[in-house]
């Protein structure tokens, strides 16, 4: 059964069929909400509110687009409203400057898998929210630029530029904060 058929099932009154969508998208939804809100408590509230909104407005979902894109757009908007965050006016310069200062005292370390995970998570938390979100959407969910543009409300060239900068900043922060070059093992 494909997603459109499941949507029809929910619309015909079978509300428990919506559990499929919750199960399938809750992890990514909470990751997006967490990137924007910055803490788990708020992220969970946002995700709950978003799924309920999606359920209520399921009739407005057009089957020609991806359900995930539609849902993540709701999560994105709800999280921004909830946290009163301005996503694209960030403190990129401050973060880079801060990172460079730390780099002076950085040590070479040998990383195991756990350490690498911690470092990556920490860097993602310290990055401007918008950049971290773009990397999340692009690399974790394999969303093409077009879908990311729909979710964030930015235009496609803007997403490409921001994604390029986010990638660059991520690398810079890893290198300057930890004095290491992260490589996939």
């Amino acid at each position: 059964m494909n997603e459109n058929q499941r949507v029809q099932q929910v619309l015909s009154g079978n509300s428990s069929a919506f559990a499929y969508f919750v199960e399938a998208y809750q992890d990514m939804a909470i990751t997006i909400a967490h990137r924007i809100c910055g803490n788990m408590q708020d992220a969970e509230d946002v995700v709950q509110e978003s799924f309920v909104k999606a359920y209520r407005n399921l009739r407005s979902f057009r089957s020609d687009s991806k359900f995930s894109t539609w849902l993540y757009r709701i999560v994105y908007n709800t999280a921004i409203t909830h946290s009163k965050t301005q996503m694209w006016i960030g403190s990129r310069e401050t973060v880079v400057e801060e990172a460079s200062q730390v780099a002076d005292n950085a040590l070479e370390i040998n990383m195991d898998e756990m350490e690498r995970k911690e470092i990556v998570s920490e860097v993602m938390q310290r990055m401007p929210k918008g950049d971290a979100l773009l990397l999340t959407l692009y690399y974790l969910e394999d969303n093409p630029v077009k879908e990311i543009a729909k979710i964030t409300g930015l235009n496609e060239p803007n997403v490409k530029v921001k994604l390029f900068r986010a990638r660059k900043l991520f690398k810079e922060m890893v290198v300057s904060n930890y004095g290491i070059q992260i490589t996939g093992s």
Binding site: V22, V52, S121
Partner: protein, 124 residues
Amino acid sequence: MLETYNQHKEDEQMRKILSSTKINASENLKYRIMRQIETENALVPKKGKPIKESGNVLKEMGSLFGTMYAVLAAMIAGVYFLFGKEFLLSPQFIGTVILIASVFSLLWLISRLDSYLKEKKRIH
């Protein structure tokens, strides 16, 4: 070509590195969401069968214009027996028939307008 290959390789590497940052939702989140949806569903009153609008319109139309034709038929019969066939074709009588038909048509128009406004109010 080489640039594309490098970019692809870098993307793969980034994907691998960032995969660890995906957050898993807590065990009870799905339960919380579904419970809220079920609760809201239970609170929303079940919609009854919508009233058949077209059936209503025909019924209303039938009763109103049925009455009109009955009145006209009674009038024609009365005039025929009291004043004869000639009076039926007089402009005076035809004017009266048109007046009665206009009054009933106006009543029909008012009743339709009333139903429309009621329906609009119900939707909003």
